[in-house]
């Protein structure tokens, strides 16, 4: 029973927030446009949160995702300009997009390699690369953004009435959910996070799988970076500053444990939407972004506290 309550809690909170906002602002909140808008805004964070979920289930952390996003976007845009001149179009944009995504993949692999081969804690490695990736983003164009005025498709494109970015988000959610549940990679991710030593003794090639987890996180960060770039029609070296905190918050609100072994993609999706709707609601209610920070901070603490309370009660029930 307790388990069910625990799983439904984030979802219940999400529904509650939507209901409250619908009641308060029926004409502006409860519209298709607003919902699509929220989803579109969620997509970047949500895509990255999917990667972060895997990392956190493996008992790791990736603080570098924000910087990695800036760097991937900068590299992608730079390639577009190198190939297509100051106002790149067509093939240059496609190639640039591809290179941007690969940059994310490379950055993630680098994190994984440092963590496993140098045997350093993920916190330290990604704290370092967070700074390094950001630094490179600034150095690339002397702190200025790369403007690519025609790079609009990922943001404005619509298929069957649904924005492209939301579709990409949905595909990644489904793929990651399947991967976590039905692949060895997913199973080993849980095992490594739950008890790394035990996984190793059971023949799991821990290093190789950790590298894959961080690399795949890099990959989704690369995708999110190109969506962000498209939204701003420019690559900003300042993109994604403190983004990692929002992402970790979404994953944790979704029920993942920072000590590893627990977490789901559905939970992360709900956590991401919860934060997005909350921000959207606050904006509609004319609550300043500063106050939003306070609200979100409180929600993180309450969510995790309630989760732990339910958990310790469940544990107490078992030993009796």
């Amino acid at each position: 029973m307790n388990k069910l309550v625990r799983q439904l809690l984030p979802f219940g909170s999400l529904i509650l927030i939507i209901c409250i906002l619908s009641a308060l602002k029926p004409d502006t909140f409860l519209t298709t446009d607003n919902f699509l808008n929220v989803l579109r805004r969620s997509s970047v964070n949500g895509i990255i949160a999917v990667g972060m979920t895997a990392v956190i289930i493996s008992a790791g952390i990736d603080l570098s995702v924000g910087s990695m996003m800036a760097l991937s976007g900068m590299v992608g845009a730079w390639v577009m300009i190198v190939i297509g001149g100051t106002n790149p179009q067509g093939a240059a944009l496609v190639i640039g997009t591809f290179v941007g995504i690969v940059t994310g993949l490379a950055c993630g692999s680098l994190n994984g390699l440092f963590i496993t081969k140098l045997k350093l804690p993920p916190f330290i490695v990604t704290l370092g690369t967070m700074s390094t990736f950001r630094g490179i983003s600034y150095v690339m164009n002397a702190g200025k953004p790369y403007n690519i005025p025609h790079y609009k498709y990922l943001n404005e494109g619509v298929v069957l009435g649904i924005p492209i970015s939301v579709l990409i988000f949905a595909v990644i959610i489904v793929l990651a959910g399947l991967l976590l549940k039905y692949s060895r990679l997913g199973r080993y991710t849980y095992a490594i996070g739950s008890n790394r030593e035990a996984a190793f003794h059971a023949g799991v090639n821990v290093d190789s799988y950790l590298i894959r987890i961080y690399a795949l996180t890099g990959l989704v960060v690369g995708i999110a970076a190109m969506i962000t770039t498209s939204r701003a029609v420019s690559a900003q070296p300042t993109a994604g500053v403190t983004l990692e905190l929002d992402i970790i918050a979404a994953v944790v609100i979704g029920g993942a444990s920072l000590s590893g072994g627990r977490g789901t993609i559905i939970g992360t999706l709900i956590g991401t939407l919860l934060i997005s709707f909350l921000r959207n609601g606050c904006t509609l209610l004319d609550i300043s972004t500063n106050v939003q920070l306070i609200v979100i901070g409180a929600i993180i603490i309450v969510a995790v506290a309630v989760d732990q309370l339910a958990r310790s009660k469940a544990a107490a029930g078992q030993t009796e």
């Binding site: 549940k181 060895r184 008890n195 030593e197 003794h201 059971a202 799991v204 090639n205 072994g261």
Partner: protein, 510 residues
């Protein structure tokens, strides 16, 4: 009880510690039953017993870490209730554990005063000078040679022991418990330690000395107490005892028909290990195991038995050695290789190296077997649960179902989850490291039956255990290890437990 407690007649003035009728139960396991333990002032009192006999439980009760279910403790003639470690400390009990408890980056004097630093004239500033002076004075009183300003990290192991002892003395300890103090010392350092212990005795302190090395006890202790299966089976003066007698008290159990019979059908050589050495202290081990044979491995804690298993399973790097299975030479560099070569390793610490506690039982069982059960690319949860349920039935695991998290199971059933894992793996060579540790008697018997069954199927089994009776009850042959080397390869039908304990515990005459 056989206890010859001649210490009972001593006057209270002579008694530093009197524990009476101490009992302690952990779940279904009776760790200590009605144990009485008396230590005279100004003596070295050896506490011995097999692994799991209850020594550390008794000492943890004395240190205030555990609370006894029954019994009383008297220290220096005063009844005490030690409900936390600090209370034991202030009652004059000091523990020196095998793994020393020092702050490595601080100086000797800072360690001696750790937690009770002397403050100087300014607030929050320690009086280094005074602390150094007092440490020097204390060390001189006991004739210890040590520089109070040296950084602990840079001291040799033997000197670290001195720091621990000084720490105890600075806290006015009257009873010092030393747990396997020589295990990490060289021989010359050990000799210095014995001198220290004798000095403490001259100063009327009492030392409770726990050691597996019986030969050092004989030369050092005044009294000896022997625990076996949570009972005090002998307590008295060292004068009337020698090593064989102590060993007899330690193992003197009868083998009842606790061990199920087996159709012994031993075939050709299955496992061949030659000159195995590892960086983790295994030196030049060679042995064979035949099809259907259960080979036991005896030895004291730290003898290197687990390290042999780790080297075989590819966890520790081998420095030399050849492993053959059914005549094929194996190249094993990781547990993954070992599992691929049909080797299983049930580790001794199921919580640390065995189970993913919060994950479902079924996941734990299939963890090393996903490829073997045809789920290399796609896991089919329904089929997985079915497979696991079938294995679970075979060894009658009591659970709430395959999806229940492992930590909802009892210790014995958790162990069975790990056994189920290796059953599913269809291994040819199975290493069981202390498979019956921490599980109750009924579950133990089931484990024995299972080992028999596996042997009857023709598997080669290496059975590491610290309990000699079960080795004698189950194994066809017993390998004895001491300090990383194989020192015996005996037939349990032609030898005694005393003999094996002697091999394991006593240095060969030079």
């Amino acid at each position: 009880m056989i206890a010859t407690t001649d210490t009972n007649r001593l006057s209270d003035v002579e008694i530093a510690l009197r524990m009476r009728g101490i009992s302690k139960k952990f779940g279904p396991v009776q760790a200590l039953s009605d144990v009485s333990f008396t230590v005279r002032r100004g003596t070295v009192h050896a506490l011995v017993g097999e692994n799991g006999a209850g020594k550390s439980t008794l000492m943890k009760i004395l240190a205030g870490v555990y609370q006894p279910d029954n019994g009383s403790i008297e220290i220096n003639g005063k009844q005490k209730v030690l409900s936390k470690p600090t209370e034991a400390l202030s009652a004059g009990i000091s523990m020196i554990y095998q793994e020393l408890d020092l702050a490595e980056h601080l100086t000797v004097a800072e360690n001696v005063f750790l937690g009770m630093e002397l403050s100087g004239r300014l607030p929050f500033i320690m009086d280094q000078k005074e602390m150094t002076a007092q440490t020097t004075k204390l060390a001189q009183r006991f004739n210890f040679k040590i520089d109070p300003t040296a950084i602990v990290e840079e001291l040799p192991m033997g000197d670290c022991q001195i720091v621990e002892i000084l720490k105890s003395l600075m806290r006015n300890a009257s009873i010092i418990v030393m747990d396997e103090p020589t295990s990490s010392l060289s021989e010359s350092e050990a000799a210095i330690l014995f001198k220290l212990v004798r000095t403490l005795r001259e100063k009327r302190l009492s030392i409770i000395y726990i050691s597996h090395r019986l030969e050092e006890i004989v030369g050092l202790a005044d009294d000896v107490s022997v625990l076996r299966d949570g009972r005090m089976v002998h307590s008295g003066s060292m004068a009337n005892l020698d090593i064989p007698k102590i060993v007899h008290y330690m193992v003197g159990r009868e083998l009842k028909d606790f061990f199920p019979a087996r159709n012994i059908n031993i075939g050709e050589t299955r496992v061949k290990v030659r000159n195995l050495s590892s960086k983790n202290g295994v030196e030049d081990i060679s042995f064979d195991i035949r099809k259907g044979e259960i080979v036991g491995m005896a030895g004291l804690i730290g003898a290197g038995r687990t390290q042999v298993a780790r080297a075989l399973f590819g966890i520790d790097r081998k420095t030399s050695g050849v492993i053959e299975l059914d005549g094929c030479r194996l190249e094993i560099n990781s547990p993954n290789d070992a599992i691929g070569d049909h080797i299983a390793f049930l580790t001794e610490d199921r919580k640390r190296t065995g189970l993913c506690l919060e994950l479902p039982c079924s996941w734990n069982v299939t963890l090393p077997n996903l490829v073997a059960i045809g789920m290399k690319n796609i896991i089919k949860p329904g089929r997985e649960r079915l497979i696991v349920t079938n294995v679970a039935k075979r060894i009658s695991i009591k659970w709430l179902g395959p999806q229940a998290p492992v930590d909802s199971l009892s210790g014995g059933n958790q162990q069975k989850i790990l056994i189920a894992r290796w059953l599913l793996a269809e291994s040819k060579f199975m290493i069981f490291d202390e498979p019956t540790r921490g599980i109750d008697v009924g579950a133990k018997k089931e484990v024995y039956s299972l080992l028999n069954e596996l042997a009857e199927e023709g598997k080669a089994i290496l059975f590491i255990s610290s309990e000699l009776p079960e080795l004698f009850g189950i194994a066809d042959r017993i390998l004895v290890m001491r300090r990383g080397r194989l020192v015996g390869n005996v037939n349990p039908k032609k030898t005694t437990q005393e003999e094996v304990m002697h091999l394991a515990a006593v240095e060969a005459a030079q």
